[in-house]
């Protein structure tokens, strides 16, 4: 009996975050007065839109590098590809494919850069990749706001600022809007299902499952467990870490392209900033931690996080009569959830370390 209770408690503690979210949503949904069909449709759209971005975080976690805040670099690469195709007016699925092909070498380059820098900052990968994101945001602005239209030729004058160079704040992606989502049109009882996007996401999930079993995947897990041991076993630690970041960056780049084809407009200077934060918050809401994340966490997290995202402004409006409050609430929750997950992880790590030290000193660890 006691043991059963213990394991139940363990389950609660392990999954505290998703359970908390479920409870909050359970209260907020009736208050918000949204219909079930609307919510299901909205969740399907958001799953197709965001899952790929969130999935791109899995591989660095496997390699023990924590949450890859550097995924915004990939998002930037994807946006540059999209800017080019909307300039050349290449539409439809070919447009998306072309954007992906253009941005792949860029993403590889940025990923390599990110990985190399993170190898110089072992033990503080997260904060470094976080700052790197800000830094590259500056470089991105430099290129897109000053380089495009002056150094890089842009043919479409409608995209360029009136001063003659630099891309406008909003880039229209009308030509590729929802073209992937509507590639295979499926509709069940008035709910549209973006099947093609889901197929790509499924394909990617298979890739992750397969990748874990390859030699490289096994190496990454070993590196994630303990760099010293892995190095002693003859695994090229730095190289493996580099590759994990490159893969993540390239995937984040594709993820951003999928995300933006669904949205249909590109906020040239903001879209990538939000991408990283929301993806990381979603993953953590799904019950993942800094050192352990599964595909299931991704989907659960996207649904729960965005459920709250959709519901909270309306709930705030009906509850307190102020939509702005719900807006701030969800901002607070996204940041709070990341803090909570980071704290829990660091705390656990410190406790383990203390225990190890105590046992080293020969004192019985309780």
């Amino acid at each position: 009996m006691n043991r059963k209770f213990d394991s139940f408690k363990h389950f609660l503690v392990q999954n505290a975050v998703p359970i908390l979210f479920l409870v909050v949503s359970a209260f907020a949904i009736p208050i918000s007065q949204f219909s079930g069909t609307y919510l299901i449709q909205e969740m399907l759209v958001r799953l197709s839109r965001n899952s790929f971005l969130v999935l791109s975080l899995l591989i660095p976690i496997m390699a023990g590098m924590g949450l890859n805040f550097g995924m915004v670099l990939g998002a930037m690469a994807g946006q540059i590809g999209l800017i080019f195709i909307s300039d050349w007016n290449v539409v439809g699925v070919s447009g998306i494919l072309l954007a992906a092909i253009i941005s792949t070498p860029l993403a590889i380059l940025l990923g390599w850069l990110c990985g190399a820098i993170l190898n110089m900052a072992k033990g503080r990968e997260m904060v470094t990749s976080f700052i790197l994101g800000f830094f590259m945001n500056g470089v991105y602005q430099l290129i897109v706001l000053y380089g495009f239209g002056s150094v890089v030729p842009i043919t479409n004058p409608a995209m360029v600022l009136s001063r003659g160079f630099g891309i406008r704040n909003v880039t229209n992606l009308e030509g590729v809007r929802k073209c992937l989502d509507n590639l295979i049109p499926v509709s069940i009882q008035g709910i549209d299902i973006p099947l093609a996007t889901f197929l790509i996401i499924a394909l990617f999930c298979l890739f992750v499952v397969w990748f874990r079993r390859t030699k490289l995947g096994q190496d990454m897990r070993a590196v994630g467990q303990d760099m010293k041991v892995a190095g002693a076993a003859g695994i090229p630690v730095e190289h493996t870490r580099l590759i994990s970041i490159i893969i993540s960056t390239v995937l984040a780049c594709y993820g951003q392209i999928i995300f933006l084809q669904n949205i249909g407009t590109l906020n040239t200077y903001n879209s990538h900033e939000q991408a990283g934060m929301f993806a990381i918050a979603s993953l953590l809401v799904g019950g993942a931690s800094v050192s352990r994340a599964s595909i299931f966490n991704v989907f659960l997290g996207v649904v729960l996080f965005h459920l709250m995202f959709v519901v909270s402004p309306m709930a705030g409006k009906y509850l307190i009569g102020e939509a702005q409050l719900g807006e701030y609430f969800r901002v607070f929750v996204s940041y709070g959830i990341i803090s909570l997950a980071l704290v829990l992880h660091a705390w656990r790590r410190q406790k383990n370390k203390d225990r190890a030290r105590r046992s080293l000193r020969g004192i019985e660890a309780e």
Binding site: M126, I131, R163, V331
Partner: protein
């Protein structure tokens, strides 16, 4: 030759490059019809405004807690003090003092809790500090809407409640500290003597504190935790004291900033305020584990100098405002440099 080499080694390449860059801007300013006296005055004013917040970085760096990305926590305490002071409505120096008197206890409590938290997460303080700062700002966004402030100078006119995003301190304590003994030379050159004196006072206090028993113990905790443990220093306590100090200085810093700037910025205003302060002290020569008062002064002058000079000079040179981009690249590049340079965290 050797001396130059030593100097370069001592100052580090990034600082020298930034210093030369700033010098070039000052030299070029007259040629592109930017008034030099106005620029220098601007730089000095901004140095005074931001100095205290940069100083707030010192205790935490010294005690080994790393860069205080959680500065917004202190800033929030300062904002609460400022807003309450305006609500009470006493103008001039007493108003500022009331703001500080309210802010400091709040900052102490917040800093204490924040310190307890950071003690639980040794080794990843910086990432958590960043997000503690972010979430506290987001939390206060809710609070600014809900808190029962009623002064018509601060709340939204039509609703009669909920604080506005920016609140003017004009008519309360605008430049209250700055104007103590301030003077002007010509039309453009203005020296906020009071603000400098205040900053100097705090710097001196910090300098003295670092040489007290507690101060040296704190430094030992940061530089050599094993030795500190062996000599019976309570590491966790020292770290908490440093975090409290840092948070309180952040609170005072934002009040000094506001009284000079003229506005209280609420909601998402303090969100990114930690970053300029962090990069300023790094530009001044601090590392993730080592910082002095000199680093604060040099760093703030260099960083604020670049922030003041790039918009005006580069703007007149190429008719394009690149200051924002330069600011992002310089400040984050500096933080990145410090993070990658530092030796692995000592455990």
């Amino acid at each position: 030759m050797n001396r130059i080499k030593n100097f370069i080694e001592y100052a580090g390449w990034p600082r020298i490059i930034i210093g030369i860059f700033l010098l070039t801007l000052f030299v070029m300013a007259p040629f592109v019809r930017v008034r030099l006296d106005a620029s220098i005055s601007d730089t000095l004013v901004r140095f005074g405004m931001n100095g205290v917040m940069v100083l707030a970085m010192v205790p935490m760096i010294v005690s080994g807690c790393g860069l205080n990305f959680g500065l917004p926590l202190g800033i929030i305490a300062g904002l609460l003090g400022a807003v309450t002071s305006i609500e009470i409505g006493i103008p001039g120096i007493p108003g500022v003092l009331i703001a500080m008197a309210i802010a400091i206890p709040i900052a102490t409590i917040l800093g204490w809790a924040y310190g307890l938290l950071l003690n639980k997460v040794k080794g990843s303080e910086m990432m958590i500090a960043t997000y503690v700062g972010f979430s506290s700002v987001a939390f206060m966004c809710i609070m600014w809407l809900v808190l029962p402030y009623r002064s018509s100078n601060m709340v939204w006119g039509y609703a009669g409640k909920g604080l506005r995003t920016t609140i003017a301190v004009e008519g309360f304590w605008h430049q209250a500290i700055s104007d103590i003994g301030s003077f002007r030379i010509g039309q453009f050159f203005y020296i906020p003597t009071g603000m400098f004196l205040f900053l100097a006072l705090l710097c001196a206090a910090m300098w003295v504190f670092m040489r007290t028993r507690t101060g040296t113990a704190m430094t030992t905790v940061g530089s050599n935790p094993e030795y500190a443990r062996a000599s019976g220093v309570n590491i966790d306590r020292m770290r908490i004291i440093s975090v409290i100090l840092s948070t309180v200085l952040g609170a005072i810093g934002i009040i000094v900033y506001q009284q000079s700037f003229g506005f209280v910025q609420l909601y998402m205003g303090p969100f990114y305020m930690a970053f300029p302060a962090v990069s300023a002290i790094l530009i001044g020569g601090a590392s993730v584990h080592k910082a002095t008062i000199l680093n604060v002064v040099v760093g703030t002058i260099l960083f604020q100098g670049i922030l003041t000079m790039t918009p005006s000079v580069i703007n007149s040179m190429i008719q394009t405002d690149m200051s924002e981009v330069i600011r992002i690249i310089v400040s984050n590049g500096m933080i990145l440099y410090a993070l990658t340079r530092a030796v692995k965290v000592k455990l």
